[in-house]
């Protein structure tokens, strides 16, 4: 029934099967929307946030999707600024993932501020001394960039592209895309950095506080570096997932391996910097504040030293080493293991910087504050996932996301 909308030369499942799938995911989406409405209508008492936990589960999700969505700006940077032309075969999907991640991040922020109708206050009554103001500016503008990068894809739908104006608009937007991509890289550098910088300047939280360069704590650079390093792994993991679900190869191995190799070297260099940062913090910064390393990893039911090992060794060193070796990249099992571990690694890093920071006692009479999210928080955190699945499904079905799909999956009949 919808075959006129599906790109030429590719095969898709029946409309009935597709509708059933979208319906099932929409049920999850509606559950999240219901929880979101509860938070808006009844207030933040729907959450388990308290005086210790000013950041809920969704703020971890917010920072995690921003880091994972970093694949869009970094792949765009590599494609348009550095000139890695092979990446043109995966940049559409990277943009789509980035668009989903950043729109999700903005949605989460809309829930977090409680009264979304006042969201514009952050622009009109800007606190120019706040890193979070910079984050809000850059995040909003970068979402604009991702929308601009996503529009030509939509206009390349088989039917829309028949309209001459849309066809020309898509063409002209492609022509100047490097300008938008460069702007996106500029914006991403600052918003990723400032998200990390916020943690680094928390003088009252020795777990997060860092020394720095001029006005920037180390965490500013570590966040930007980690998003650029790990973001492409998220793009690759979702590419592999879509290939598994669709039962088709969508991107050639050389493209995947190139992105994996670059990501691997970025992870290795990042993790060296992260280890140096952690060592300096543990040996100098924390002791100056009257703490030892193990103060942050003991006497509580959850945050043991295992979380540091999970972040740095399992989610950093291991995937980095796999991805920089040719054998590792060419072995499907190792490649998939590495990109999944990398996604876990950066998500753990954001968890630590958002939630463990809040849990650590900072006064002698303080306690370790544990936190279990309410179902509303869980539902609103799953909401963007359901939204993302729906947008990927619709985009894959109706838009030419993967330029190599026809070549890799020739229709024989």
């Amino acid at each position: 029934m919808d075959s006129a909308l599906i790109p030429k030369g590719v095969q898709r499942c029946s409309l009935g099967k597709f509708t059933l799938f979208i319906g099932a995911v929409s049920a999850v989406l509606l559950w999240g929307v219901y929880a979101m409405l509860l938070c808006w209508l009844k207030g933040l008492n729907q959450t388990n946030m308290n005086d210790y936990y000013g950041f809920a589960l969704w703020i971890w999700a917010d920072l995690a999707v921003i880091a994972l969505g970093g694949g869009a700006f970094f792949t765009g940077f590599l494609r348009y600024i550095v000139g890695k032309n092979e990446l043109k075969n995966i940049i559409n999907y990277a943009v789509l993932i980035g668009f989903i991640c950043y729109s999700s991040a903005l949605l989460i922020l809309a829930i977090d501020i409680g009264q979304p109708l006042r969201g514009w206050f952050i622009f009109w009554h800007a606190n120019v001394h706040s890193m979070l103001t910079e984050v809000a500016f850059c995040l909003s503008c970068y979402f604009g960039v991702l929308t601009i990068e996503y529009i030509p894809l939509v206009l390349e739908n088989r039917q829309l592209n028949k309209v001459p104006f849309f066809h020309n608009l898509a063409h002209n937007m492609h022509e100047v895309m490097a300008v938008f991509a460069a702007t996106g890289a500029f914006l991403s550098f600052f918003h990723q950095g400032s998200l990390g910088g916020v943690a680094g300047v928390l003088f009252g939280r020795p777990f997060a506080y860092r020394e720095g360069v001029f006005i920037w704590p180390w965490t500013f650079f570590l966040f930007t570096w980690s998003a650029a390093a790990y973001g492409p792994c998220f793009t690759l993991s979702l590419t592999k997932l879509l290939e598994k679900v669709s039962g088709k190869k969508l991107v050639k191995d050389n493209v995947v391996e190139l992105l994996a190799k670059i990501s691997g070297w970025m992870i290795i260099t990042y993790i060296i910097a992260k280890i140096a940062d952690t060592w300096y913090w543990a040996a100098v910064t924390a002791p100056e504040g009257g703490f030892t390393l193990m103060d942050f990893y003991s006497n509580n039911p959850l945050y043991g030293i295992w979380i540091l090992v999970l972040e740095i060794v399992i989610g950093g060193i291991i995937p980095g080493l796999i991805l920089i070796t040719e054998t590792g990249r060419k072995n499907k099992f190792l490649l998939i293991t590495a990109i999944i571990l990398a996604c876990i690694g950066v998500s753990v890093n954001r968890w630590v910087m958002v939630l463990q920071v809040m849990a650590v006692p900072v006064m002698s009479f303080d306690i370790w504050a544990m936190y279990i999210p309410s179902w509303q928080e869980v539902a609103t955190t799953i909401l963007p996932v359901a939204y993302g699945v729906i947008l990927v499904a619709l985009s894959y079905r109706y838009l030419p996301i993967f330029p190599q799909e026809r070549e890799l999956n020739p229709i024989t009949d």
Partner: protein
């Protein structure tokens, strides 16, 4: 927030922050304006390039 608005102060923070915001918005706005205007001209002239590249 614009210069002249009662909360505006001519200091480094305002110039850097708001300048950065307007710089980014200007590039996006000018870029999109260029694309839309050029597309209108191309469409009126009957230009229809079938071989444009993807991203």
């Amino acid at each position: 927030m614009f210069p002249g608005f009662f909360e505006w102060i001519w200091d480094g923070g305002h110039m850097v922050f708001m300048g950065g915001l307007w710089y980014a918005l200007s590039i996006l706005g000018l870029g999109m304006t260029y694309c839309i205007v050029k597309s209108c001209i191309d469409t009126c002239q009957g230009g229809h390039d079938d071989n444009h590249g993807h991203h």
